[in-house]
């Protein structure tokens, strides 16, 4: 991507590039959102393009999860608009948004704890198009996370943290989603397990799945993402490529304190 196009406003980029190989999948424009009187997001504009991992980086409690919850319809934004594949999502119910192909691997996994691993995966394939392809998608998930196949009849609540994360991502893959938003995949996991999860995420992206990755860890984001947004205190403070982020020690120490 050229410098000029990167520095242009995302909306302009989006209208120029729609239909090309790296077209825009998700577009968030001037989004304000929060809980009650408390405003968490104060005018966010980001764009997720096809064919790569887009990173959303920022410290905890600064609105990353709120942004994802707005996109998937779990909370209603106060202002602004969200478009997915050119289709307006703002104000829609989460089930409608999921049916458009926007998949979310939520923070804390939100598994169905009392249900078996198999039932959790099948819940991911609830929508009719995914239901028709559930066998093929199960194979795909098992290829990515063989551990899940061994635990098929075990209830999701008894899995280890890493297995829960695998199940949560696996459930997201069962849905034939056209964009997967993954919220802090490394949260609370041991380094070795984080490594496994990231191998899987990169493999998914290589297979052509567009991913919006929410992370706190600069190293992880710099390693796998193409485009990176830095979200701090409800605003996008910086955007650029992962390589630029890596070389910008001042930026990292200002916003991420490391």
């Amino acid at each position: 991507m050229s410098d000029a196009s990167r520095q242009g406003s995302p909306s302009a980029q989006w209208s120029e590039s729609s239909g090309t190989a790296s077209s825009s999948v998700l577009l968030v424009q001037d989004l304000y959102a929060g809980y009650g009187a408390h405003t968490v997001l104060r005018g966010i504009t980001i764009e997720v393009r096809a064919g790569a991992i887009t990173g959303l980086l920022g410290p905890n409690g600064h609105g990353k999860t709120t942004l994802l919850r707005c996109a998937s319809g779990l909370i209603k934004p106060k202002r602004g608009r969200i478009e997915f594949k050119g289709c307006e999502l703002t104000g829609r119910q989460p089930e409608w948004i999921a049916a458009q192909g926007l998949g979310q691997v939520p923070q804390g996994d939100m598994l169905f704890g009392q249900m078996s691993v198999q039932d959790n995966l099948l819940m991911g394939a609830y929508l009719a198009p995914a239901w028709a392809q559930r066998e093929a998608n199960l194979c795909r998930v098992f290829a990515l996370f063989p551990r899940l196949q061994e635990r098929l009849q075990q209830s999701a609540g008894t899995l280890s943290g890493g297995e829960r994360r695998m199940l949560s991502i696996g459930r997201g893959l069962m849905s034939c989603a056209e964009l997967l938003m993954i919220d802090e995949p490394s949260l609370g996991l041991a380094p070795k397990v984080i490594e496994d999860i990231y191998v899987a995420i990169v493999r998914l992206a290589d297979e052509g799945m567009p991913i919006l990755l929410v992370e706190e860890s600069v190293e992880r984001v710099a390693e796998v993402c193409r485009q990176v947004y830095l979200l701090d205190d409800g605003l996008i403070r910086w955007q650029g490529t992962a390589a630029e982020l890596d070389g910008n020690a001042e930026l990292i120490s200002t916003y991420l304190g490391s």
């Binding site: 979310q104 939100m110 609830y126 929508l127």
Partner: protein, 292 residues
């Protein structure tokens, strides 16, 4: 030995009816925190619809029963659309819906009273007679009640356990937002659960009326017992409710047989109170729920 078998016959029959309505109540609470006080009224509707179908339309037992199930589902849908949906987002929903559904139940029961009168009516589809084995008497109707409730519960368990929609019902009751993220239309699931629960209430009402008689107030006692079963099992746990219903049905029949029928209910309450002291959230209880 004969005594024990006789107790089992009447206890299991009681249990089967408790189970049908307790499972229905439990489904509603489990998926949307609705304590449906119109459950008894829906039992009454089921009983009278079955009676009317058999008497005025001349339909046979199974057809009349099916019509009662359909009427129960319709009542469940009415309850959802008229009360649950408009109140769902309101503060204090759990309390509001108890009072609102109690009101709806009163209206339904009084409409039935006005239409059919207060006198008890015999349920025409009930069978007479029975088998006698070694001094144990098994009325045909008890066998019908047992068989049909078991069949209904097995079909329900298969539906909830194995089908795409049944799985979505379970998922919604565990976490409605997580189910929505998978594309589950949770409001349609709520409607479906209320209809299922209404059908179960109607089924239980018909079966009850075949063993006793039809009366506009016949729903109160079984509804109370179904609530007791649900509380003892842990609210919202349908399979737990089934187990506790079996236990309490047989227990009540045993106390009734050995000590006298008038002690049955008080001993049942005593047992439930003791079990709640031991496990305050019910034998199988202990979960919080997020409702949308």
């Amino acid at each position: 030995m004969q005594d024990l078998l006789q107790v089992l016959v009447s206890g299991l029959t009681l249990a089967a009816m408790y189970a049908l309505s307790a499972v229905g109540l439990s489904l509603c609470w489990g998926s949307m925190n609705v304590l449906n006080m119109a459950h008894g009224a829906i039992m009454v509707v089921g009983g009278y619809v079955c009676y009317s179908a058999a008497t005025f339309l001349g339909s046979g037992g199974p057809a009349s029963f099916a019509m009662a199930l359909a009427a129960g589902a319709a009542m469940g849908a009415l309850l959802y659309l008229a009360l649950v949906r408009p109140l769902r987002q309101r503060k204090g929903f759990e309390t509001l819906i108890i009072i609102a559904s109690f009101g709806l139940g009163l209206i339904i029961e009084n409409l039935i009273l006005k239409t059919y009168g207060a006198y008890p009516i015999a349920q025409p589809i009930a069978l007479e007679g029975g088998w006698e084995f070694e001094q144990v008497f098994v009325p045909y109707q008890n066998a019908v009640v047992l068989a049909s409730s078991s069949l209904i519960l097995i079909v329900l368990a298969l539906f909830l356990g194995k089908t795409r929609t049944g799985r979505a019902i379970r998922a919604t009751s565990i976490s409605a937002p997580a189910a929505q993220l998978q594309g589950v239309p949770v409001r349609r699931i709520y409607l479906l659960v209320m209809m299922l629960s209404g059908s179960l209430a109607a089924a239980s009402g018909v079966l009850l009326s075949t063993l006793t008689t039809l009366a506009p107030t016949m729903g109160y006692d079984p509804m109370l017992k179904a609530f007791i079963v649900c509380v003892a099992a842990g609210l919202g746990n349908a399979s737990g409710a089934l187990f506790v219903a079996l236990l309490l049905g047989v227990f009540e029949a045993a106390v009734g047989f050995y000590l006298g029928v008038r002690f049955g209910f008080s001993f049942l309450l005593a047992l439930v109170i003791l079990s709640l002291i031991w496990r305050p959230s019910g034998l199988f209880g202990g979960k919080d729920l997020q409702r949308l």
